[in-house]
């Protein structure tokens, strides 16, 4: 019962934070410096790990598909399979999980320590709402940066699959064939679908992590707990949202 109330409290405070942050949107020009800084942290510095991971996810996808499809003589469809899976599902989900692990945890840790060391209280007495200075720029930054990360993840994953397909002896699909089947069986709609998903995931990951950070109570020990909670909640949220968003976008 207590747990349930806590969960409901969490949802409520997250939505409150969302509304409050949205109401501070007009002051974005004033927060432009912070916005750029967050863009840098969320987008630019996350790029390498996104690229590496999506490359290997694309490769593994091609490898597994090649292995299981050779029995059906449907190997030439690997391009379409990798393309669609990356664009519609794995690209967005992977970007969101990386954001949760790399950016969400950092946000939760930073805001939780600010809260524990009374910096948040100081902001409040200075009449600088934390939602305006700390949350809103991050939310806008994630909205701007996630599509970039997601499209790079898609492209790198596709190329990873193409390389594996042409270099693995038992698959042996040339990149030309690979990309031709991908083009034949995909539309931009599929990519856009994935970008929207990534956008939604990224946005909620940052929002939830901000909220958990800001609602930390107690001493320095709580900072670690807040980070753990932020990452766990983010991961659950991503996968639960994934189902509903996918369904809604169909």
């Amino acid at each position: 019962m207590n747990q349930l109330i806590k969960i409901l409290e969490g949802i409520g405070s997250t939505l409150q934070l969302l509304v409050r942050s949205a109401s501070y949107l007009p002051s974005l020009p004033r927060q432009f410096g912070r916005f750029v800084e967050q863009c840098y942290l969320i987008g630019y510095t996350t790029l390498p790990i996104v690229a590496i991971l999506s490359f290997f996810i694309g490769s593994v996808l091609a490898l597994q598909a090649g292995y299981s499809m050779q029995n059906f003589g449907a190997k030439q469809l690997i391009g379409a399979l990798v393309g669609l899976s990356m664009a519609r599902e794995l690209g967005p989900v992977m970007v969101a999980i990386l954001l949760a692990g790399r950016v969400g945890s950092a946000i939760a840790a930073e805001l939780a320590s600010m809260k524990v060391y009374q910096e948040i209280d100081a902001l409040v007495t200075m009449n600088i709402p934390p939602a305006r200075m700390l949350v809103m720029p991050r939310l806008v930054a994630v909205l701007v940066m996630v599509p970039v990360l997601a499209i790079i993840a898609n492209l790198v994953g596709w190329f990873g699959g193409a390389i594996i397909c042409s270099s693995t002896s038992f698959i042996g699909i040339e990149p030309t064939t690979y990309f031709a089947t991908m083009r034949q069986n995909m539309e931009f709609k599929d990519v856009l679908n994935g970008l929207i998903k990534a956008e939604i995931f990224g946005f909620f990951v940052v929002l939830v992590c901000c909220n958990i950070g800001l609602n930390t109570r107690g001493g320095p020990r709580e900072i670690g707990a807040a980070v753990t909670r932020a990452v766990v909640v983010s991961l659950i949220l991503i996968l639960v949202l994934d189902y509903f968003v996918t369904k809604a976008l169909m």
């Binding site: 410096g33 750029v36 800084e37 840098y40 940066m145 599509p147 990360l149 499209i151 539309e187 990519v191």
Partner: protein
């Protein structure tokens, strides 16, 4: 790192992302963003069979659009075809549902129509311009409303072809039946054979004279005298004869029927009946015939050795080939159906069967 550098990197990163999204978009959507939307026409069919949304529309094999939707309209099924902009269709062009592959991929085939016939949809109406937002997000563009209707024809499927073949067989049978009646007679009217018998009886003297003439001619021929003699002995005239024979070929069918009758005439003759019987068993005439036959034998010997024009003719393949061509033409005359994809296949089957 100073702020300016950071801002620049973020800006560059963002632009890179936009560029990549654009490239992906262009690649996957074939640059639809810059193109205008086409137009839509309806095509009514008795049945759409396996046709479904998204199937291709092809004109003379070139993809010009796709099936936008299918619907039931009253007593017929309608397919709404979205045609690419700037593609015009002649108003006498017809659409039909074509099966392309073994697993039943269907598409709508539209023929080119006749040159000079006005377009079904005037050229200036073949594109509907996109609004600003639908240029950015193409799926916002509403699907075009159909503005014309194309004529359709039902491409025969296997069932109807089989039915046609069955009907053809029936006709063939009945015509053969009447042919038999024509030869044998049906009680009231004399058949062809009775008529010939009567003919020979009435012209007994004339025939005797003819036979005498024939003997004289064959003698001459044997000696190489006269035109026919020269013709048989002289290979130079071969070419002319071939040309003549080609003309004669037209009458070949009638000749065939005649040969069939000949057998029965010979039966009559053996029994000594009628004019010919008398003719054959009269000794004086018999001698004449005997010498004629001897002459004929020498001719036939020549022929079997391949000498002379007629010999070449019989030992030459070209006659066989000509006959074959005539058979093919006849064959084609029989199948009066469409010459499109699946029917050709059926045609092959048909030819194999018969």
């Amino acid at each position: 790192m100073n702020n300016l550098q950071q801002t620049a990197r973020v800006g560059l990163f963002f632009l890179l992302g936009l560029a990549l999204i654009w490239v992906t978009f262009e690649t996957l959507n074939g640059g639809k963003i810059l193109k205008d939307e086409g137009y839509a026409i309806t095509a009514g069919f008795e049945s759409l069979k396996e046709l479904k949304q998204g199937d291709e529309v092809r004109m003379a094999g070139v993809r010009i659009g796709e099936v936008q939707s299918t619907r039931l309209a009253g007593r017929r099924a309608e397919a709404i075809l979205r045609i690419d902009p700037m593609v015009t269709i002649k108003s006498d062009a017809t659409a039909s549902i074509v099966t392309a592959g073994l697993i039943g991929t269907n598409y709508i085939g539209i023929d080119l129509g006749t040159a000079g016939v006005p377009d079904l949809v005037p050229r200036e109406k073949t594109r509907s311009p996109r609004g600003f937002f639908s240029r950015i997000l193409p799926f916002l563009q509403p699907e075009p409303e159909p503005i014309a209707e194309i004529q359709t024809k039902t491409a025969a499927d296997l069932n109807s072809i089989m039915a046609q073949i069955g009907a053809l067989g029936e006709k063939l049978e009945s015509s053969l039946g009447s042919l038999g009646t024509a030869f044998a007679g049906d009680g009231k009217n004399p058949g062809l054979i009775q008529k010939i018998d009567g003919l020979v009886t009435d012209n007994r003297e004339k025939l005797t004279a003819t036979m005498t003439n024939i003997r004289e001619i064959t003698d001459k021929v044997n000696k190489g005298e006269g035109t026919l003699g020269r013709l048989i002995s002289d290979p130079k005239l071969h070419d002319e004869l071939v040309a003549t024979l080609n003309e004669i070929k037209a009458g070949a069918t009638e000749a065939k029927g005649f040969i069939a009758n000949a057998q029965s005439i010979i039966d009559h003759v053996k029994q000594g009946k009628g004019a010919i019987g008398t003719l054959v068993f009269d000794e004086k005439i018999g001698d004449d015939i005997r010498s004629s036959v001897a002459t004929l034998r020498t001719i036939s010997d020549k022929i079997s050795r391949g000498e002379g024009t007629l010999g070449k003719l019989l030992n030459d393949d070209s006659l066989f080939r000509d006959t074959q061509a005539i058979m093919k033409k006849a064959d084609r005359a029989l199948d009066g159906f469409d010459d499109t994809g699946p029917i050709t296949a059926v045609g092959v089957v048909y030819r194999g069967l018969f």
